[in-house]
Symmetry: C2
């Protein structure tokens, strides 16, 4: 079959690889019908060294079950399914608490950690199929597919940012980042009842979508000027919650500048740093809390799917480009160049 | 009157200073009857440069109101009162949320930031007396004074660590530090219902008191060995909450090693660092949260006092040495040498 491989920074190719096969009785084989390129794929696209490649790519997909191992009971051949970006058993003590990204099962993993599998491909072997896959009650060509595909990562990740930050109808919220996760953080904050949602971003097509998703104000300035503008919009104190949806140090520092005393910085952008300021001058003095991490999107799929099925929300609007498997390398480049917000790949 | 001044590291003196006077209509004058030396006083005692001194010392005290400004209504001459380590108006939006250490009033401050006032003295001018002072329903020579004095800082600080960490009957807890705050963090975790409370400390007299306060296990090892022992006591995963009651980098790193996925590190020891690891390898990977800061002890006084008055708890047991104002310099040295856990100063 054909699959996407990254050889090094800027070098993505679609090549022939061996077809996946069932290895464990808990596996399923899925023929992929829709996948996409993630903002987090752009980090290695910017920095990957040749000695770390080639790597199979893609961790967001929808597909049709083609075969199942003998122990799989919740999905069967012919089912249309969506997969979260993390493989989990959905039964361990962490999964039961809704923290599927810390699943204790030996086969639990991120797709990005699976050397032989990836979602930007024609097919995939899914470990722990009962825990990982969720059946979709639509046809593979449904108009809802783009929105349902966001349940695999970006919507659940934006939602996790808002949930981990404790967003509710009494919190003011700032969202840092106008990528797909940031925009869906806006949608999530709106869904959880926040009345003031400030979106920090500078690409108008994206911030316009942010306003459509529920942003009440947009601040395009960054750094000290951006901090000053958010403070001015919030009576001088900043917002109770800051959803940090980028992952680099300037975004973190911006977050520390605009969070209200006693507030929360909720991070879901994979940190591109290890050390950061958390002492008296940054977090400690005003009891600022830090939350977030890899989103347990599996925990949110059942909760979020009905709103997509009944048309209340349309998170799939983050896809502004559609291509096929051959178009994946160009899709990476377009997203890196910020020509595309998020690229949908239809097989 | 006489008051304690720190001239530089290791140099604490009791000297004559001008008597305090009412400056603002919201002030009260308090004749101090009991005060103490804080673990946080030991940081400048170890490092203060002569050019930063002399500084008035002491932020924990009980005393008798001698005079009040014209606008003071909640306390009057003759009342016995306790003061938290932070001055606050108890009416601003942050105080109403229970975050008195971020009080928005222009006169809000830490005692340690008041150049002309301190609690290790014969008397003190108390700004924002209505917000700051709490009347005590006992006599100045009551046997409950040591326990009531802990409401000014160490008990409220340990309690804040537990509250900010979300301790309840379903959480396992580790307390790092066998100082007064750590031991009262144990007492607080017990009060909030935690069934497993692991105390990390290596001074047996202190850890024995920790067991009396509710610690179920004591781990004296530090670093990797200490982390391994806590993990062994918790089924391999660590505890839901870690109360970090020290404030230095080894304590923080120990906390990151023993906190359970999805858990909380709650810090109340003033960080002696600004930058620390919070990226993928430390906090982010397993959604570890960070909480805590300067404790709004004012918010907890009414809640905690009844248990002291009715004898349910005796946090004053952290005082193992009693002296008078003349004995304060020796008290600092004894605490620095770890001969004394906490020194009570009776006037």
């Amino acid at each position: 079959m054909r699959a996407t491989l990254m050889y090094s920074a800027g070098d993505v190719r679609v090549e022939n690889v061996p077809d996946p096969v069932i290895k464990h009785p808990t596996d399923a084989l899925v023929r992929i019908t829709a996948s996409c390129v993630c903002g987090s794929d752009l980090w290695p696209y910017a920095s990957m060294k040749p000695e770390d490649g080639p790597a199979r790519m893609g961790h967001e997909f929808i597909g049709i079950v083609e075969d199942t191992g003998s122990e799989v009971t919740t999905v069967k051949r012919g089912d249309l399914v969506v997969a979260p970006f993390a493989i989990s058993d959905n039964t361990c003590e962490f999964c039961r608490e809704g923290l599927h990204t810390s699943c204790a099962h030996a086969q639990a993993n991120f797709w990005d950690g699976e050397a032989e599998e990836g979602g930007q491909a024609e097919a995939v072997r899914v470990p722990l199929a009962d825990g990982t896959l969720v059946k979709l009650p639509v046809a593979p060509d449904s108009a809802l597919i783009p929105s349902l595909l966001t349940l695999s990562d970006v919507f659940g990740t934006g939602y996790h940012a808002a949930v981990a930050g404790g967003v509710n109808e009494r919190t003011r919220v700032t969202v840092i980042g106008d990528g797909a996760v940031g925009l869906l953080g806006v949608l999530s904050a709106k869904r959880l009842g926040a009345e003031q949602i400030i979106l920090m971003g500078r690409h108008q097509a994206r911030t316009d979508l942010g306003r459509e998703f529920g942003a009440t104000e947009v601040v395009s300035a960054r750094g000290d000027e951006g901090i000053a503008q958010v403070r001015e919009l919030t009576g001088g104190h900043g917002t109770h919650v800051v959803l940090e949806c980028v992952g680099n140090m300037p975004a973190y520092q911006q977050a520390t500048g605009i969070v209200r005393p006693g507030g929360v910085i909720s991070r879901v952008g994979v940190p591109q740093y290890e050390e950061a300021p958390i002492g008296f001058g940054s977090l400690f003095r005003h009891n600022i809390r830090l939350a977030g991490g890899p989103a347990p999107v599996r925990a949110y799929i059942e909760e979020l799917m009905p709103d997509i099925l009944n048309g209340t929300i349309e998170p799939g609007k983050v896809f502004d480009t559609t291509t096929n498997l051959d178009g994946v390398p160009a899709g990476y480049q377009d997203m890196a160049d910020r020509k595309s917000l998020k690229v949908l790949v239809k097989n």
